[in-house]
Symmetry: C2
Subunit: 370 residues, 2 copies
């Protein structure tokens, strides 16, 4: 039975496409970059308004400020994000020093780049090799686990990574479950059982993430997250992120008709991706004992829609190729994404008219005494 | 002029052969492993006798013990080395806790693996993916530079890495210099000018290394180094490490005769490797303001000689192939090391009769107030 192979409890780990070739994440992460650029100002504000650098003991004896980016991939976005953080903290520190007429003692930064163990850290490190204002380190491992010593981080960041689940929920790949997701490859939002299974997995991952970071951040430390969510009153397939997944299914079904893959194989396939309804996400955040919720906001909601640009197929390929490869084999990937590009061109009007996802920007603060 | 291309000031960076294929460092580091095994007991003793874990403020508020291995390559040796350190520190900590009848509060470890930016960190991270007793991070960059925040490390380790120079000394590749090293590819010890140039580069690299670590280690922190040196009264070519380089030159000259490479190219080639005369090494160590020298010792000097085993050609290949590749092109590497294996078999008696290098084991302690 095709579905049996998906029942493993081992968390899946699908890195972005490695290297810096034409299909790499490095060359195809413009969409994520626009999201990041929109978040930069909000991150600066959070540091300006919420970070209590002056609190005694906050920095520790050695005066090092430690930053971690979770789900960093290979750059350049992670580098842009951490440089923004480092600059904003440095500015605040300098202001405070001059205000207090102190001799500007120097602040040092250590920045940790985290992603799955099979992320291409070699490419990330080569991209980092520009003169930086920080000491860099790569940290391999899934971010639903503890990755750092207790109270060792001052700022945690994660952009467009928490929608990736640690694994496909077991029920949706189980042919005997009412949640078996035969007719789709993601959580469209139309099936209650499938939605519940995805929601439960997301909640578990998110809670694990928050509890791990709660232990790793010092009291008063900040966390800035950007997570694509589904707006109130809509389901995922009504947004263009959801529609992309539906179009990918159409392509797979074409390939079934041509005898390139089997129907069973497609029915058993599910993406480990979830765009939570905004209320679900908010409830999880407010429920976490370690953090106070300082801000939940959406990026550029009232400005122009995010451009849906012609690079979308490449972007999706960089993001998801590994998942398809592991299930269907490497030989189908080129064909799948070529079909997707064509389908997108044909459906462009539909696509552009879809609801935009809520690119949710979140600031959490580690409580002092938990 | 063939030598001009070597005059660059850019530090060279030659990683170990990556991956875990038949020629990889991962599969061909048994010699280094034996050195490491011999050092393990001495590292334990240093931790037992010299580490003042109980000193107030030594561990800092969060109670994390930070270890770094410099020149880690891809494993498994680096993992064996840091596990030995972690276990010894944990044992000492537990003993102290039970002695003081304290509730055993837990100690956490963060371990940093450092090597050049083009080291194969992806392979290292996959090799690390066994349940560990520490939080792991990779730190890319040359270890003659600062790589960590001030006072952020408690134990620094480096085994068989400091003999690799940050670059070939300029004079030995300069056809107009009296130190032009036309007739050899390393510092044989027979030419005074060549020896001076290599010695100066080693001194500079070693001082940079010690000054950087001096800033990074907390007061009372320890550093354990293993460095292959040349014993008193001998020159490098009289030890089997030096002889290996001489045999490699013989192979290159054979290839010149066969028209595979040019004589100019061989004359301009030098290995960025140096086995310092033991007195030179000792002088540099005693001269460093940051550290007190707690121990200088040689590994297994009075026991059996290190086995000279049939894996030596593979070992040298894993270690040096990249350097040859960059100078002569990838196409000569297979042939070069096949010739070397044959030459070694023919010269095995000579080889085994050579002086062994001084595998020098060093313990330094970061002074409290510098």
């Amino acid at each position: 039975m095709a579905s049996v192979e998906r029942k493993s409890n081992v968390p899946m780990s699908h890195p972005m496409t490695s290297g810096d070739g034409p299909h790499s994440y490095y060359k195809n992460s413009n969409f994520q970059k626009r999201v990041l650029e929109a978040a930069k100002q909000k991150v600066k504000e959070a540091i300006e308004d919420k970070l209590e650098l002056n609190n005694p003991g906050f920095l520790g004896k050695s005066g090092t400020f430690c930053v971690a980016d979770f789900g960093c991939s290979v750059g350049p976005n992670t580098i842009i994000a951490v440089q923004n953080i480092v600059e904003a903290v440095q500015r605040k520190y300098d202001d405070q020093q001059s205000h207090q007429q102190k001799n500007s003692s120097s602040l040092e930064f250590q920045v940790f780049f985290n992603d799955h163990v099979n992320n291409d850290f070699n490419t990330l490190f080569r991209n980092l090799a520009v003169p930086g204002r920080f000491f860099a380190a790569g940290v391999p491992g899934g971010f639903t686990d503890r990755l750092f010593p207790e109270a060792s981080l001052h700022f945690a960041h994660s952009s467009y990574a928490l929608q990736r689940l640690s694994k496909v929920p077991e029920e949706v790949a189980d042919v005997n479950s009412p949640a078996y997701n035969k007719d789709s490859i993601h959580c469209t939002g139309f099936s209650e059982e499938v939605a519940q299974a995805y929601a439960a997995q997301f909640k578990k991952d998110m809670e694990n993430f928050l509890n791990a970071r709660g232990q790793e951040l010092v009291g008063g430390g900040l966390m800035a997250l950007t997570i694509p969510a589904t707006p109130e009153g809509f389901v995922s397939s009504q947004t263009y992120l959801g529609l992309s997944n539906d179009l990918l299914l159409d392509c797979l079904m074409e390939m079934v008709k041509e005898g390139l893959i089997t129907k069973d194989k497609v029915e058993a396939f599910n993406l480990p991706l979830y765009f939570p309804p905004i209320k679900e996400l908010e409830a999880i955040l407010h429920n976490c004992a370690y953090f106070s919720v300082e801000r939940i906001d959406s990026l550029a909601r009232h400005q122009n829609k995010w451009p849906v640009d012609p690079s979308l197929p490449s972007l999706l390929r960089a993001f998801a190729a590994e998942v398809f490869k592991q299930h269907f084999g490497v030989e189908i990937v080129d064909s799948l994404f070529e079909r997707f590009a064509k389908k997108l061109a044909v459906n462009y009007e539909t696509y552009a008219a879809k609801e935009e996802p809520l690119n949710t920007f979140i600031v959490l603060k580690r409580k002092m005494n938990v």
